[in-house]
């Protein structure tokens, strides 16, 4: 994991001092509220429905046990004893006091954490694959490039007042787990015929009120040109993106207005001027970035023996066996596995985690996974480097702490925004809908039989819950002061990125569990062996689902 040197510390300390001064000037009435707004947002601070919300970056999801303990401390001392893992791998505190925020940021800076550029019209935290570095299908570890992008985008003087927010995601695996096609810029690491590392560049994807799948503007960008190319894209966007209408200000609107072809020409023309400049990456810098993401001291393990040990325990313990099936996945190093801790037990807001649980995860990371953990955009936590022979011990502790719910990837592993319970943008609540659906699907054997289903819920069209790319997506809408829920089917955030189709008229909150049940029933009745929900939907189309859900009561 990246470790700050004196330069990084200096820059972050200066940022904390700057924001402390800005906050003091604001509280003294020297900065107008509308001028303080972007300043506080670019330090992660929102004013929400009930209290401020402070968003702390977890750069591309990487977090260590020291940082987890510091977050626990912040949750306990400055907040109500819990925080929330966001759909962009970040951590959110829901109840901090504005006057204490500079102190919180100072405490976090000590452990190399911050809220800078976690909000506002600037380049946000770069996100990535939670299994980076350990995935069996990985081509190249994306994290060194994420870190290079993090440094380039941090306090970039030219791009702090963009038309709108800007999100970059990077994946280095064959299967895209970072949803790169629905980001402002998506980078997919590819190798050319000579085996040299480069990027396939997607631009203009995004969710929100105008969901778009990104366009490929370059099939292969050699790695050394990463920053100059990003700079060219951002400059074209900064100069030509719309600023007259907040809802048409994202880069996807510019790409669509110009057409991807013309947009590409503009970027390439700008890049022709920047290519080869001092921002061109050196091999030394790429090597330096890679040096922070070298292998931990893995042991040489007899995989067959380790697997046999796990299998023996699994055969005696059904619950452990279910957990292995859903929450544990393969690892490129023999004898190791990657474990996902579920933050989706029924009855807890998806992604919420208490101070004590953060500390337990820190302990687990220290004991089982080289003191590191990862946050996921599905709002869970991963321990990426666990010895198979320690899985049973890990499971027992995780179970006692409440995050061994064996539901990863299933219909109850719901991606869900904070919704109307917390967020001032929301049109409707989302957390109670998630809970009611989880209660509808309490029979875990039935849930396993259904296989992987991505169910995503957003409380408004800003789509923080990624409803457009759920196999089943739910969108909260407001109709004359009443909350209703629209259902979409067939979305995907993976390599086959697809936006879901709206099923039809929306439903009331109390209808939702039955509506989802009926959709699942149609799937179960129509599926062929091996088919997942999304496959069946793609094969049979929306009509059978519509007919069932909107059937007149007889």
């Amino acid at each position: 994991m990246y470790i700050y040197d004196e330069y990084d510390h200096t820059i972050l300390r200066q940022r904390v001092a700057q924001f402390r001064d800005q906050t003091e000037r604001f509280l003294a009435g020297e900065i107008k509220p509308e001028e303080f707004l972007p300043l506080r947002l670019q330090n992660g601070l929102y004013i929400q429905r009930l209290a401020p919300m402070l968003r702390i970056n977890v750069p591309y999801g990487m977090i260590n046990s020291t940082q987890l303990r510091r977050l626990a401390h912040v949750a306990r001392h400055y907040d109500k004893g819990y925080c929330h893992v966001s759909t962009r791998q970040n951590i959110q505190f829901n109840w901090p006091d504005l006057t204490e925020v500079p102190n919180i940021l100072e405490e976090l800076a000590e452990v190399q954490m911050h809220g800078t550029q976690s909000s506002g019209n600037c380049i946000r935290n770069t996100t990535s694959d939670q299994f980076a570095g350990v995935a069996e299908d990985e081509i190249v570890d994306p994290r060194p490039y994420c870190e290079i992008i993090r440094q380039w985008s941090t306090f970039h003087p030219e791009f702090a007042f963009l038309p709108r927010k800007f999100k970059i995601a990077v994946t280095g695996s064959r299967q895209d787990r970072a949803a790169v096609q629905v980001h402002d810029i998506g980078l997919q690491i590819v190798l050319n015929d000579a085996g040299e590392v480069g990027f396939k560049v997607y631009v203009g994807g995004g969710l929100g009120r105008t969901p778009v799948i990104g366009s490929v503007i370059r099939e292969y960008l050699p790695q050394e040109h990463l920053l100059t190319y990003l700079e060219a894209i951002l400059r074209v966007y900064n100069l030509y993106g719309r600023r007259d209408n907040k809802f048409k200000a994202r880069i996807k609107i510019l790409v669509r207005a110009l057409t991807p072809e013309v947009f590409t020409e503009k970027v390439e023309a700008e890049w022709a001027q920047l290519k080869g400049s001092s921002s061109t990456l050196t091999q030394a810098e790429i090597d330096r970035a890679k040096s922070f993401f070298t292998e931990p001291p893995y042991e040489t393990i007899d995989n067959a023996a380790a697997q046999a040990e796990v299998d023996a325990l699994a055969s005696e313990n059904l619950a452990f066996s279910k957990w292995l099936q859903r929450n544990v996945r393969g690892h490129r190093v023999p004898g190791y596995a990657a474990v996902t801790l579920s933050l989706k037990p029924t009855g807890v807001a998806p992604g919420d985690i208490t101070d004590r649980q953060l500390e337990i995860i820190a302990d687990l990371a220290d004991e089982f996974s080289f003191s590191e953990a990862r946050t996921t955009h599905e709002q869970n936590i991963v321990l990426a480097d666990v010895k198979k022979t320690q899985l049973f011990a890990l499971w027992q502790t995780a179970k006692a702490a409440g995050f061994a719910t064996p539901n990863i990837g299933t219909i109850t592993d719901i991606i869900c925004c904070p919704g109307g319970d917390f967020c001032s943008l929301a049109n409707a609540k989302s957390i109670p809908i998630a809970e009611s659906i989880q209660r509808q699907f309490e029979d875990m054997d039935y849930v396993y039989d259904l296989g992987d289903i991505d169910l995503n819920i957003s409380g408004c069209m800003n789509a923080c819950g990624h409803h457009h790319v759920g196999h089943i997506g739910i969108l909260g809408v407001d109709k004359k002061g009443e909350e209703f829920y629209q259902v979409q089917l067939g979305g995907s955030a993976s390599n086959d990125a697809t936006l879901g189709d709206v099923l039809g008229p929306s439903f009331s909150a109390e209808d939702m569990p039955q509506v989802i049940q009926k959709l699942v029933d149609v799937f179960v009745e129509n599926r062929t062996e091996e088919e997942l929900f999304i496959d069946t939907y793609r094969r049979i189309g929306a009509t059978p689902f519509k007919e069932r859900v909107y059937a007149k009561a007889s």
Partner: protein, 168 residues
């Protein structure tokens, strides 16, 4: 005389800024004697006469790009970039382009509704003079914001080498 921040000090503003012509042909706007900053449209329409003067500056609105002045920037003593609102960040790119692509070495001035807390980033993009539209701004206090940061990751006008090429 109004004051502004220039090269880190508070100085008299000796320039007069001409507004955009409204309902008038840019070619027929009369440009007075003395140090005058003219709108881009006037500059473009009257370039042949104005180029003979050494006391003419040009201001760009946020929707006017650096290439509209282009290489001729190098011969101007002053170019201003306007902020209709402080949230309109196009001037950051325009400033860099004037400095880095079009060889402008004169006074690069931010005008309009930018805010004190943008000074450091503006300075990094090559702006060296700051004329706040609000006359009540405490310029002495604002000077402090020029150097909110003394170390940076990226290459920019004030530091042409990115940190990764300077890291010991």
């Amino acid at each position: 005389m109004p004051k502004l921040v220039k090269d880190g000090a508070i100085v008299d503003d000796v320039w007069t800024c001409l507004p955009k012509p409204e309902g008038e042909d840019a070619a027929s706007v009369s440009v007075p004697e003395g140090q005058v900053i003219v709108p881009l449209s006037v500059w473009l329409a009257q370039k042949s006469q104005l180029q003979g003067r050494t006391d003419i500056g040009v201001w760009l609105d946020s929707d006017e790009t650096a290439d509209m002045i282009g290489e001729e920037a190098a011969s101007l003593p002053l170019i201003a970039v306007n902020f209709p609102t402080f949230m309109d960040g196009r001037a950051f790119s325009t400033a860099r382009l004037l400095r880095e692509r079009y060889g402008f070495t004169g006074e690069l001035r931010a005008v309009g509704n930018f805010i004190r807390d943008q000074l450091c980033y503006l300075r990094r993009c090559g702006v060296n003079a700051f004329a706040f539209s609000n006359p009540d701004i405490d310029l002495q206090a604002a000077l402090k914001s020029l150097n909110d940061f003394t170390e940076y990751y990226q290459a920019s006008v004030d530091q042409p080498l990115p940190l990764f090429r300077r890291r010991a």
